[in-house]
Amino acid sequence: MTLSRPDVLIAQGVVKSYRTEAEIVHALVDVDVTVRDGEFLAVTGPSGSGKTTLLNCLSGLDTIDAGSVAVDGVDLASADDARRTEQRASSMGFVFQTANLLPDFTALENVTLPMVLAGTAPKEARRAARLAMEQVGVDHRLGHFPSQLSGGEQQRVAIARAFAKRPRIVWADEPTGNLDAHTADQVIGLLRQLHADGTTLILVTHDVELAAQADRGIEVRDGRVATDRSSKRV
């Protein structure tokens, strides 16, 4: 059933380099990745291997030097910043290691705001946000500011923010990196639960156990995809 789904992301020959004062760092070298709609992909690798760079390049947060990246049929490699931004707004959600909540906005506003900015009517956005926050179990903290929330609660709000607008793909970059084991389990449970609704989930982590929970895993080493395998679950 899963195998018959269309590809939501196709990246081919992706190259990304950084120029520092001393040298040129080849962060990604000829990377090919394809992700199917509704897939749960884990990207693993040691520190500095290029996995976060891969996420940034594939999601359109960063530009690439060569190759192609197509998300939902849109070529991000040739798209300008405005087009990439539009693509992120319409079909992507993000969860990062730190929650990155806006400190001056309440939890509900933090979830609502990206939708409103993307053009959703404020009332509709609030309804979707409440629903998402209910799903992640922070609906009792709607009016609280980030500084009034625990680390786990902040990350739940961040997850609600990523999923509230029902994106095609959610990118999660070390979402449990700052959390204790118990909270981390809860967060992963939440991500899995939301993925079960049909959202494609791409998780960047160095935690092998966490990666093992994905449908498929790729390992990045020295900017290259070293292995690409289906997990035991599949």
Binding site: D62, E86, L102, E109, P114, L117
Partner: protein
């Protein structure tokens, strides 16, 4: 027109933001919420807009107030008198009035006949005081009815009779005479003493201005019983019946017919012009002169108001520049913080345009609040400045103007619009830069990698900029525009830097370019002297900005090299090492802060130094005014002081006799833009060879192109003019404002001027053959012509009523003047030393410069606020570094001290740059005569050291809060939480 343009631009700027605020709820929330959650940050950004708007608004309101005050003073003083018709002789009034009545103009409300004579009077209280006054005869009953409003005429009580006289308030103050004291009038070789019955205010008929009063507007009037002047003249004529010399028109009383206009729908100006034309037609053939006195006084008042406004605007500019830099600093810090927190929204789809719009919307809201508060602050600032300037304007040289607060809606609107446009430009520019930040690095709270444009882009840009600069500079030299002369080469140098720029040669390239442009900006005043003729706003602003910019660039690019040896040696302890190292971080922001200090200190140094140079100039100015003579003795032309009497006095080594009279000068070019286009009152000095070298004032520029007089020494040129009936010498400071030094369009050699005898209408057109270095004193501009020209103007052979007296070294010239006054009162003697005249002039100039210095110092507030904020921000940014240092064992006190050192270093660098630039510019301006004359340069060491010490100390105090915050950071918390 300008106001409308400003308002349209403001509305154009604001309209899209209003739309966003209404139609984009998400962006509205993004813009509004931080201001509510972080009021401190909001207040700081608002403060920049407040200061900028306040300074701009206050300059305009100050202009309004000065103009209104001078106008009010003029209107009050003249009251119902709109025009004056002057005719030489005692019995002319009746004929003139008949002619006016016959013409029967509907715009004329009424006429009043007076008889006047300017002569010497002596007050006899405990100490006898002598003054030149206007002795007037008028019927008080008729005078109080004149114009229909008795309270506006200033005339009260009955007409003086017998030995009673009535005094004007100005003359009462001048010679310290009160009711019941005695005053003696010396005229036509006779003397008559009166007992003062009462004192009248400077108002209406009672406030008629005395010709040749220091400011041209004082009323040194003495009202004597009608018939007095005729009797004194008759007695003099009897004495001279044996008659060797008749009484020339140089000395005759003047019949004055004052005319009051009705209010018409044409408005005052056009009514006055129409009535003047009617009066001239009605009195043609009577040999009289018609003057629209009120309109001339009002025009002159407007001109003076504009000059003062320009003075305050020039020095206020640097305060406003400081406020704008503060705004840039504040909003760039705010935008950085906002964009960081917006990083995740950018990831989730907030476009760059959306980020930009949210930032601009937030800035716009702050700007609106800032502009509103700034307008109020500007009004308060103007009121404060008026309070400070009260004494300077109230002095006799300034005309005793009582300052009143006046703010036109247009001025406040202009200030608000400028504040809004400038602030929004800053906000928009900063937001555009901030919104371009890299999303990934934003979320990781990392600085963006420094992106260096391709070298080809630098070169292309430089190739465009460099020729543009050369063209601007060359054009500036061609058309003698000082701003272009300074800005052009600076632009060209920027182009060269862009063409040759590489990171490795950046330091040397920018250093060389900065030094080259700096040297040019300072020396251009000398090299292209013809363009720098007076101290205008353009000169001050252009030279000030370019020199301080060069100074700041030079120090910024060399800061590392300068402090590296100290840091390496570790001398001074860890606090000094850390502080010096920290002071070189965030190069652009540090340079902005240094620039704030430098611009403010530049203006302060310039004002303080010029003030000192003027102060030192008393003896030089007295030499420039009087040449080799030390005293000027004016006397009654009918019975002048005999030169031989003066020559016999102890200490007198020479006496040069000249003739002087009041005349009106017209020139098409210099006065075309001025208000007093009709005429300017001047004193014509008719001289012969005896005057040369014995009273002839030194020339500023002794040449007349194409006339064979090029390079002619002073004496030779005076000799040439003494024998030439077509040439005249005028003051180089002729059209400069007498107090501010700001010129309104000077005469040049080769210009043609017309001198007119106001009593007879006789006129002569002459060519300006040279410029006298200083020819303005005693409230009048002096022009020097051949004695024969003088006689032609007068219509008869003139008597020598103005003596220039040379004295031996060590003689007290003020005492000698008092002796001459005392011994020759019967001759109407009025003697003054040139040193005294110079002291009066210098003291008033210094008062105005002191007020300007206070105005310029407002910019210091911006600098101090700026350094406090930047230091707080830096402590916040460095909290991890500081915590690490603390974890490694660095003491809290060391951290606090390092913070203070950093602040002091920035303040010191800015202060040093500002002081050096200000001193160098003042040096060149003074050496090239741009300040009105060449002044010997002198550094005001103590005042500048005091200013520098105060600035650095205040900066240290401003760093107290951030230093404490830095010292109190808890390393464990910061290192664990990271925030």
């Amino acid at each position: 027109m300008t106001l409308w343009v400003l308002l349209i631009v403001s509305i154009a700027f604001s309209t899209p933001l209003v739309y966003i605020a209404i139609a984009r709820p998400g962006l509205r929330l993004l813009a509004l919420r931080p201001s509510i959650r972080r009021p401190g940050q909001a207040v700081l950004v608002v403060s920049g807009a407040v200061l900028a708007t306040a300074i701009v608004t206050s300059a305009s309101v100050l202009g309004d107030s000065l103009r209104a005050s001078v106008r009010r003073s003029a209107v009050t003083q003249l009251g119902p008198v709109d025009e004056e018709i002057l005719g030489e002789g005692i019995d002319r009034g009746r004929a003139i009035r008949s002619a006016v009545d016959r013409a029967g103009g509907s715009s004329v409300r009424g006429t009043l006949s007076l008889l006047g004579l300017v002569t010497t009077v002596r007050g006899r209280d405990f100490i006898a005081r002598v003054a030149q006054a206007q002795v007037l005869e008028v019927d008080f009953a008729e005078g109080s009815r004149f114009g229909g409003d008795p309270s506006a005429t200033g005339v009260t009580g009955s007409t003086p009779t017998g030995d009673a006289a009535v005094l004007s308030a100005d003359l009462s103050d001048l010679i310290a005479i009160k009711p019941r004291h005695r005053v003696t009038v010396y005229a036509f070789g006779a003397a008559r003493t009166f007992r003062i019955a009462r004192v009248l205010p400077r108002l209406g008929v009672a406030g008629l201005a005395t010709p040749l009063s220091p400011s041209g507007s004082e009323s040194f009037n003495l009202f004597v019983p009608p018939g007095t002047l005729a009797a004194m003249l008759a007695s003099s004529s009897r004495d001279r019946a044996g008659g060797n010399v008749g009484i020339s028109t140089q000395a005759l009383p003047v019949s004055i017919v004052a005319v009051s206009n009705r209010e018409t729908e044409l408005g005052d100006r056009r009514t006055s012009a129409a009535v003047t034309t009617q009066l001239r037609a009605a009195t043609s053939g009577l040999e009289v002169e018609v003057h629209p006195v009120k309109q001339q006084l009002l025009d002159d008042a407007d001109q003076r108001g504009r000059s003062f406004t320009e003075l305050f605007r020039a020095f206020g500019f640097f305060g406003a520049a400081g406020a704008i830099l503060l705004l840039i600093l504040m909003f760039s810090i705010l935008a950085r913080d906002r964009v960081r927190s917006m990083g995740i929204l950018r990831a989730q789809g907030l476009s760059r345009r959306g980020t930009f719009a949210a930032l601009v919307l937030e800035g716009w809201l702050y700007t609106l609040v800032g502009v509103a508060l700034g307008a109020l602050g500007g009004l308060a600032l103007a009121a404060g400045a008026l309070l400070a300037a009260r004494d300077a304007f109230g002095g006799p040289i300034a005309g005793g103007v009582e300052l009143v607060f006046s703010a036109r809606g247009g001025s406040v609107a202009r200030g608000c619009a400028i504040g809004l446009i400038v602030s929004l430009s800053v906000v928009t520019g900063t937001a555009a830069i901030a919104s371009r930040r890299n999303i990934v690095r934003l979320m990781r709270r990392m600085e963006d990698r420094r992106s260096i444009p391709k070298r080809s882009a630098w070169i292309a840009c430089g190739v465009g900029v460099c020729p543009a600069g050369i063209v601007i500079g060359a054009t500036g030299i061609t058309i003698a525009n000082p701003v272009a002369i300074v800005a052009g080469p600076a632009t060209a140098a920027l182009g060269v830097v862009l063409v040759l720029y590489t990171p490795t040669r950046a330091r040397w390239l920018m250093s060389i370019a900065s030094v080259a442009v700096f040297v040019w900006a300072v020396l251009a005043v000398t090299i292209v002297g013809t363009a720098f003729t007076h101290l205008g706003t353009g000169v001050v602003v252009a030279v000030g900005l370019v020199t301080t910019l060069c100074g700041v660039t030079l120090v910024a690019v060399n800061h590392n090299a300068l402090v590296r040896p100290v840091i390496r040696s570790g001398r001074g302890g860890p606090a000094l090492t850390l502080g010096l190292a920290y002071a070189r971080t965030a190069l652009l922001r540090t340079a902005l802060l240094t620039g704030m200090y430098a611009t403010v200190l530049f203006s302060l140094t310039l004002v303080v130094t010029i003030g000192q140079l003027y102060g030192n100039d008393v003896s030089d100015l007295s030499r420039r005014l009087g040449g080799n003579s030390a005293l000027e003795i004016a006397s009654n032309p009918v019975h002048p002081v005999p030169p031989r009497d003066v020559a016999q006095l102890d200490g007198v080594n020479h006496v040069a006799a000249t003739a002087a009279m009041r005349a009106q000068m017209q020139t098409a070019r210099a006065l075309s833009a001025g208000s007093s286009a009709a005429a300017r009152d001047v004193t014509v000095v008719g001289f012969d060879d005896a005057f040369i070298g014995h009273g002839s004032p030194p020339l500023a520029s002794p040449r007349l192109a194409g006339s064979g007089l090029w390079g002619t020494p002073d004496a030779a040129l005076y000799r040439t003019i003494a024998g030439d009936q077509t040439k005249v010498l005028v003051g180089a400071d002729l059209n400069a404002d007498r107090l501010s030094g700001f010129a309104t369009g000077r005469l040049r050699i080769g210009d043609r001027v017309t001198l007119r005898n106001p009593a007879t209408g006789t006129a002569r057109t002459l060519t300006v053959a040279g410029l006298v270095a200083a020819a303005r004193y005693s409230g009048s501009d002096h022009v020097y012509a051949a004695r024969t020209v003088f006689d032609q103007l007068l219509g008869t052979r003139a008597s020598s009523n103005l003596l220039f007296v040379g004295t031996d070294a060590g003689v007290n010239n003020d005492v000698l003047a008092a002796i001459v006054d005392g011994t020759h009162l019967a001759n109407g003697a009025y003697a003054r030393s040139f040193e005294r005249l110079a002291r009066q002039s210098v003291s008033t100039r210094r008062q105005f410069l002191d007020v300007s210095a206070g105005y310029a110092a407002i910019g210091l507030v911006a600098a101090l606020v700026g350094i406090a904020i930047v230091m707080i921000d830096r402590v916040h940014e460095r909290r991890r570094q500081i915590s690490t240092l603390r974890a490694f064992g660095c003491r809290a006190a060391t951290i606090g001290r390092a913070c203070r050192v950093e602040s002091a270093v920035i303040a010191f660098e800015g202060t040093l740059i500002g002081c050096v630039c200000g001193l160098l510019v003042a040096w060149r301006l003074s050496s090239n005569g741009v300040l009105g004359q060449r002044l010997p340069f002198d550094i005001p060491v103590f005042p500048l050291l005091l200013v520098a010490a105060v600035v650095v100390t205040m900066s240290l105090l401003a760093a107290t809060v951030p230093a404490r915050r830095a010292a109190r950071l808890e390393p464990a918390t910061i290192l664990r939480a990271g925030a």
